[in-house]
């Protein structure tokens, strides 16, 4: 039995093609994945991301607890509502999950974690809480739903739908959220490489909120477009670009691991002992002959690599990928990718491929 979000009936009414996404019945597109992708790059789109889980951490020591639990350092979050992206590591330095942590008060932080890993994450947080002797209350918020409104016109259109939120959200900078009451949060975050908001609210209000945003000319977008947008934006997908066996250093996430302070976060020792073993870079397919896809083998000068995420880029009109490559492989190099019976040339680039509607490669 697949899990459903509070917007399931609306998706079906809108004629969405539904797929099993990690145990959730989710829309992959509402007709054309390409047009949804372009809507977000050029105007505005809305995504149902209610399958992701909000987890609130409350009580004295919440900050200290997260300084132990996360590889990035929440000590750098000083302004209320500010957020950071981080990995949670296991005792081998592999990635348990990647998440966003919001700071509201020293005794109140909010995490937003991936759908497929949510249950495991909550167990993991409980065990770290016990291990570190903290008494932080860990509260999964299954009563909340979440949408992402993304694109160059996303904020303007969202404000037209909900002008009462404008005073509290107008001054938000990237990676900052505002809470309105206990149950509503508007954050200037996303997974598309465009400006916009992620909005968290009580599940019972999901249909009303969705309809009001769509009525402003915001296009419903499925998880298909979400995937091509995030890949163009050079953002990792958990379970594909990294997982429990992969270190963040080998997944292009060294920038999210804060080793400056002598802070004994979980997984640090293993991570430092292990070191960086692979480059994590982008590929652009030069030859015609197919589409880059996850698990394709890559032949590079220094040895073999593997595509971790690949797709056709609707913005660039070429196939692009994220790939784990031999140490020392650098942007500018040419590699060969095995696609069916062919070996096709691809250029190594530094992601992202696209940001704010502009090609970067």
């Amino acid at each position: 039995m697949l899990k459903t979000t509070p917007l399931n009936a609306l998706h079906r009414e809108a004629g969405a093609r539904m797929v099993d996404f990690g145990g959730w019945d989710m829309p992959v597109h509402y007709g054309s994945q390409l047009e949804e992708h372009h809507a977000v790059r050029r105007d505005a789109g809305i995504f149902d991301v209610s399958h992701m889980r909000v987890v609130d951490l409350e009580g004295p020591g919440a900050r200290e607890f997260l300084r132990f639990a996360l590889a990035n350092d929440v000590a750098r979050l000083a302004v209320p509502g500010k957020a950071l992206y981080s990995c949670m590591l296991n005792d081998e330095g592999g990635v348990v999950d990647d998440l966003i942590a919001y700071f509201f008060r020293d005794d109140f932080f909010r995490l937003v974690v991936n759908a497929g890993t949510a249950e495991g994450d909550i167990q993991w947080l409980h065990s770290l809480n016990a291990l570190a002797g903290h008494k932080v209350a860990i509260k999964p918020r299954e009563d909340l739903a979440m949408v992402a409104v993304q694109g160059p016109n996303a904020r303007e259109k969202f404000w037209r739908a909900f002008d009462e939120t404008k005073p509290a959200t107008e001054a938000l900078v990237a990676f900052q959220g505002a809470r309105m009451g206990d149950d509503i949060m508007v954050a200037r975050t996303g997974y598309t490489g465009e400006d916009g908001f992620e909005v968290v609210f009580p599940a019972a209000e999901a249909e009303t909120i969705w309809k009001r945003v769509v009525a402003q000319g915001v296009r419903p977008c499925g998880l298909g477009a979400r995937d091509t947008l995030r890949l163009e934006a050079g953002m990792n997908l958990y379970g594909q670009d990294m997982d429990a066996a992969i270190s963040p250093l080998d997944a292009g996430l060294a920038w999210t691991v804060d080793l400056k302070a002598p802070r004994p976060f979980f997984g640090r020792k293993a991570l430092e002992a292990r070191g960086k073993k692979r480059e994590f870079l982008g590929l652009v397919l030069g030859d015609k002959g197919g589409v880059l896809r996850a698990h394709q083998k890559v032949a590079a000068e220094g040895g073999e690599g593997e595509v971790t995420s690949g797709t056709f880029s609707p913005t660039l009109n070429v196939s692009i990928a994220l790939a784990r490559l031999p140490l020392g492989t650098a942007p500018g190099a040419t590699v060969r990718v095995a696609i069916r019976d062919k070996e096709l040339a691809a250029r190594v680039v530094k992601p992202p491929f696209v940001r704010n509607g502009k090609a970067l490669i």
Partner: protein
């Protein structure tokens, strides 16, 4: 579902049409293009290739997946539609107007063994 009566079909979602010159045109069905989503790459086979029935002879890739195209009958490929390589999205717009290759059957009677529209409709609704 858009399944023209005058065409023949395969279990693997190709359509086949007898041409006046004795060759058979082959493409993918409207149902297949809809399942695949936005098509971004088509690779048609080269003329002159001898193929067995059910042999993978071409490839269609959408944004989300790759799918082989199979020969509906044994024979010789007499033409591949290379124009689709530059306009793969046409397959989404008009699946039955986009032949991917033409094949000269070893045995013209083989075509009669394929599914008719009614039988294919059952396959496509599964």
């Amino acid at each position: 579902m858009n399944i023209p009566k005058e065409l023949k079909y395969t279990q693997s979602h190709e359509w086949a049409r007898s041409e006046a010159d004795g060759t058979v045109s082959v493409g993918i069905t409207d149902h297949a293009q809809e399942q695949l989503g936005d098509i971004v790459f088509v690779e048609a086979p080269k003329a002159g290739r001898k193929v067995a029935v059910g042999e993978a002879v071409g490839v269609v890739e959408s944004v989300k997946a790759a799918s082989d195209i199979y020969a509906p009958v044994a024979g010789e490929i007499v033409a591949g539609n290379d124009a689709l390589a530059d306009a793969p999205e046409k397959v989404n717009a008009d699946a039955y107007g986009c032949w991917m290759f033409r094949i000269k059957p070893d045995n013209p009677a083989d075509l009669a063994k394929l599914l008719d529209a009614a039988a294919y409709e059952k396959v496509a609704s599964e």
